[in-house]
Symmetry: D2
Subunit: 116 residues, 4 copies
């Protein structure tokens, strides 16, 4: 995981150099994360699902930047909270496998609370 | 980056086993991402910034799951779009360094459009 | 506008009776608003646009509650900020008419910055 | 409720003149609503709660426009779904009063599921 850890170090250094820790309460970072997610969504709000699968180059580059913004804030908030994103994600996938067993969830978009 | 790539493979397999690609248009995934970000934010909406920095164990575990949900969807949407999250994030950090030079941005929360 | 003003008075009284003004900073209320919008979006994230136009009764009732939550928080944040929602909305519609003249915007989902 | 109904008629006419109904599926409108809520939130993400209560004139005008955008989309989605916002909000306030009885909820930001 050298590249992911290296990215994490860069994100931390970036904030430190700019003395931004004062603004980076988890509360504020959760807002920033949501704002970036909305900037991503804005690219798709008037597109059909089909159009969203066939983005032109310009739009794809713009979307790529939004994904990066989200990843960076996600790393930052996990740092401030002292949480390990990869470990948490692996754990959550296991939990999701229990909530959405293949036999019941296959081909269905139902929320787990509605699966028989 | 073995752990991050391994996580990516798990996320892809998870969706494939459940035949979920049909629901995973970038449009839909951007909505799912925003929904998870809001579930994260819900933990902080009535807390002060200070309280958000000192979460109790129970709350921290809940927040950790939301961060995982966001990371998983972020990986999934980047897969569907054929984009590399780490590469995109490194590129965006370089761009952010240009928008927020240390000399101007240090100690300030101003948006880059407002920095002199 | 008796019904809208009456709703506003109820919203204000509701918060006052519960001594909630302390939590109702505009910052917090903007978070609460976003959280409710995401709860609304969650109903649509895996539906096609077409399915979203033909909701069954149960789903429609659930969506109706989310719209109400959003309206209530919107009224509350405008109260705390001392702003008039109807007046602001009328003003914004005029501005939107300038940004999206019928001749240019008709049948197009383009953002105003991209209209010739 | 003349002013609110008049606003509703304007919102409907605005979309009709521009032949925008094709884009206004409830799914799309829920995304647009969330995007506007995030634009509102962006004004507050680095402010303290206290600062958010004392906005300067320029910022207040900007926030006012975001509130208007949210109100307009909220009216639009309720129109497309054939729902009455005022009626729904009054109903939801009654439900909220049951979930948050004054005796239990006074001075507390706890979610109703956590109130004794």
């Amino acid at each position: 995981m050298k590249a992911f850890n290296e990215l994490g170090r860069k994100v931390q250094r970036f904030a430190k150099e700019r003395d931004w820790a004062q603004f980076h309460s988890p509360k504020n970072l959760s807002m920033a994360l949501s704002v970036e997610c909305a900037e991503l969504m804005e690219h798709f709000q008037w597109l059909t699902e089909s159009q969203s699968r066939r983005l032109d180059r310009r739009r794809k580059r713009a979307v790529e930047k939004e994904l990066a913004d989200i990843q960076i804030y996600l790393i930052r908030i996990s740092q401030v909270l002292g949480l390990d994103l990869i470990e948490a994600s692996n754990g959550k996938l296991l939990e999701n496998a229990r909530k959405y067993p293949v036999a019941k969830a296959r081909g269905s978009a139902k929320k787990y609370t509605e699966l028989k």
